[in-house]
């Protein structure tokens, strides 16, 4: 039983990382209706910034994360203005998707140029050891607890922001119908920029937590967790903010338990099979809204 608990905790700590990345994905998708495939790479850039501030510059860890958030926010707004906005009127949404993949490669190669490919070992932002239960048999790492708490805070803040503020209401309006929103006097471009700003700021936080848990920083660090988090967002119902959280945690736990009890080699295959099954039964994901197509 204790054994099972240990693996469950491992799964939750992995899942909490997926969850916080998925929040950024789902936020941008929910409002701008585009898959920002470069999200994972913004996380990587954020981590490098924190590393630079903290290790090279000797800045306080918390301040480094804040500085990185500011930089990533700017990066998010700039990418949106330069790469995505000109394509917003394009006939197919495929163009934006392809551009996002392009931006992802651009960021990876930029990082490769600036920071080189040699892996850097990230100094954890969270130095708290965590808690030990059952005479040290079960250890919950500090970074796991901080990640879960941070994800919950982010989740609540986002929900409040979207449902209670004028800007948030504008976001919902834009996501439902851009044309009608513009007619109602909402500045669609600014609203979408704001979405990207928030999403990219979150990416810096996710980067800090991802690299504190798995302290290996390369230009490809964000890519795979980004994809897994995307899967988590789809599993939870893409566009739904609580769904991203639940999707992330579910994915982490399934991955961990299938590694332990079924096979380390088949873990990924099992994770993705479960995704397919969930989508067959509930095409909009666990918490996704049913969308009725108008004829």
């Amino acid at each position: 039983m204790l054994n099972f608990l240990t693996y469950l905790v491992n799964g939750i700590s992995l899942g909490s990382i997926y969850a916080i990345i998925a929040l950024g994905y789902t936020m941008v998708y929910g409002i701008a209706k585009m898959l920002n495939f470069a999200h994972g790479d913004v996380i990587m850039i954020g981590s490098y910034l924190i590393y630079t501030f903290m290790v090279t510059g000797g800045v306080n860890p918390l301040l480094s994360v804040l500085l990185a958030m500011v930089c990533c926010t700017v990066l998010g707004i700039v990418t949106e203005k330069v790469a995505y906005k000109p394509l917003r009127g394009a006939s197919s949404s495929l163009a934006v998707l392809i551009t996002a993949i392009g931006v992802s490669y651009l960021l990876q190669n930029l990082a490769l140029l600036i920071f080189t490919a040699n892996p850097k070992s990230f100094s954890p932002v969270i130095t708290w050891e965590g808690i030990s239960l059952f005479d040290g048999e079960l250890r919950i790492q500090g970074v796991t607890i901080v990640t879960i708490i941070t994800s919950l805070i982010v989740l609540v803040c986002l929900q409040l922001f979207i449902n209670r503020t004028r800007q948030g209401q504008a976001m919902i309006a834009v996501s439902e119908d851009k044309g009608a929103a513009a007619l109602m006097g909402i500045n669609v471009n600014n609203t979408i920029s704001l979405t990207f700003a928030i999403g990219s700021g979150l990416a810096a936080v996710a980067g800090a937590l991802l690299c504190s848990a798995y302290p290996n920083l390369t230009p490809y660090t964000g890519a795979m967790p980004g994809i897994k988090a995307f899967v988590a967002a789809v599993l939870g119902g893409i566009g739904s903010i609580p769904g991203a959280m639940i999707g992330g945690l579910t994915l982490g736990v399934i991955e961990s338990l299938s590694k332990r009890y079924i096979s380390t080699q088949l873990a990924d295959a099992i994770v993705f099979s479960i995704l397919i099954i969930v989508l067959l039964v509930r095409p909009t994901g666990l918490l996704g809204k049913k969308i009725q197509e108008k004829v």
């Binding site: 054994n3 240990t6 693996y7 491992n10 700590s13 992995l14 590393y51 290790v55 000109p86 394509l87 009127g89 394009a90 006939s91 163009a95 392809i98 551009t99 993949i101 392009g102 490769l112 080189t116 490919a117 040699n118 892996p119 850097k120 070992s121 990230f122 100094s123 040290g136 250890r139 790492q141 798995y214 302290p215 290996n216 390369t218 490809y220 795979m224 967790p225 991955e255 961990s256 590694k259 332990r260 380390t264 080699q265 873990a267 990924d268």
Partner: protein
């Protein structure tokens, strides 16, 4: 309209960059002709190198590139090979088979006559198909997979994967303090390198009745979280963790094992070489890590001291095994070419035939095994003894 044009342009740029990967193979036939013309015009050996100088395995490729540069400069300063100087060009493959083929074609266009490469296994196998077709002599410093030298024109300086696996098992069984420990293995099931070593280690450990209590794997796509694999090893009470993987993942495993308070003896192979070079890595975690590697930069014979000093002056760090492999590769080529009277005006294919014949006849005393010598078999495998190294005070020290 403007927007539309822009989007089409962007998409086109992306598609063309993807297609460029396939296009590289086309101009082969024409390049062969130009290569031989060029080489007959200039009296110099054109030696090409291929390896990752960017990407996840960049440490290996850049060390190989720099070590070859040192060897080429030394050989040229001492009068070249048979009186002819060496011209040398190195291309990046990012540890990617397709890009390695492109790099190979680029080098052939340049007029390459001998290939030192490639550095990593999967690209090496892909390129060996090409060198076989062109009958170009290929000497890989560090392609360890069995199939890297499956054709008779290809040789290697490093050990093969099975060789590393069984040598590791031999070493553990022969070491009084290690042989009774319960063993756990974590390997990368998505690379040929890691699975190759793993399979031969397990087979040999069975023969030597070593006690393997846990055997788990990961893939390149799940190479960040090792908590489950480590927990499984810990639950099985394993006291020795065999890690036939690259140092990038190994550094994460060391950190995560430390985080969960698990401290077995770690035992790696040549991929572990480089772990002390990870920037900002807490090297105290690597204290006491064993690795089986053919090269020790702390050896005190004249050859090694000279090479390590030159390398350190040039790059600012101590060479890893890959650099040493590449350095010896150049001297092996020199020795064979001189024994067989190879000259730059010979065709690529004639050079290859002479090199193949000469390779099995030489005895090379290089930095890897000095003062002992390396010999080669016709199958392309080197005969040499591995050395076990242990990390002490953040340095690689020869273990007895």
């Amino acid at each position: 309209m403007k927007k539309k044009l822009m989007s089409v342009l962007l998409a086109a740029a992306l598609v063309s960059s993807v297609l460029a990967g396939c296009g590289g193979a086309a101009p082969q036939a024409s390049s062969e002709a130009s290569a031989s013309e060029e080489s007959s015009g200039q009296a110099a050996f054109k030696i090409g190198g291929i390896g990752p100088t960017t990407g996840a395995a960049a440490i290996y490729g850049s060390d190989v590139r720099d070590a070859i540069t040192i060897a080429v400069d030394e050989i040229n300063a001492a009068g070249g090979i048979n009186g002819y100087p060496i011209e040398y060009k190195f291309e990046d493959d990012e540890h990617n088979a397709e890009k390695a083929i492109n790099a190979y074609n680029t080098l052939k266009d340049w007029g390459m006559q001998l290939l030192v490469g490639t550095v990593t296994s999967a690209p090496c196998i892909a390129v060996s198909e090409k060198t076989k077709e062109d009958n170009m002599f290929q000497l890989t410093p560090s392609g360890t997979a069995v199939n890297c030298v499956q054709y008779d024109n290809a040789f290697r300086v490093c050990f093969s994967d099975p060789n590393q696996g069984s040598a590791s098992a031999d070493y553990i069984a022969g070491n009084a303090s290690l042989k009774d420990k319960k063993i756990a293995i974590i390997y990368d099931s998505s690379t040929e390198y890691s699975t190759g070593i793993h399979d031969s280690f397990v087979a040999k450990a069975g023969e030597l009745s070593l006690d393997i209590v846990s055997d788990t794997s990961f893939t390149t796509d799940s190479a960040t979280d090792f908590s489950v694999q480590l927990q499984t090893a810990k639950d099985a009470a394993a006291e020795l963790l065999f890690l036939p993987i690259y140092y990038t993942e190994a550094s994460l495993i060391l950190q995560q094992a430390d985080g969960m308070g698990y401290a077995p003896v770690f035992f790696g192979v040549d991929g572990m070489d480089g772990i002390l070079g990870v920037e900002n890595f807490d090297t105290s975690l690597a204290e006491g890590v064993y690795l089986l590697t053919p090269f020790s930069a702390t050896a005190d014979d004249e050859l090694t001291v000279n090479f390590v000093k030159k390398f350190n002056d040039m790059t600012g760090h101590i060479p890893n095994q890959f650099g040493a492999d590449a350095y010896d590769a150049l001297y092996a080529i020199k020795a064979v070419a001189e024994a067989q009277n190879v000259t730059p005006d010979m065709s690529v294919s004639d050079i290859c035939e002479a090199m193949k014949k000469g390779m099995v006849e030489i005895e090379l005393t290089g930095v890897l095994t000095s003062p002992a010598a390396i010999t080669w078999t016709a199958a392309g495998e080197p005969n040499k003894d591995p050395r076990a190294v242990i990390i002490e005070n953040s340095e690689y020290v020869l273990a007895e």
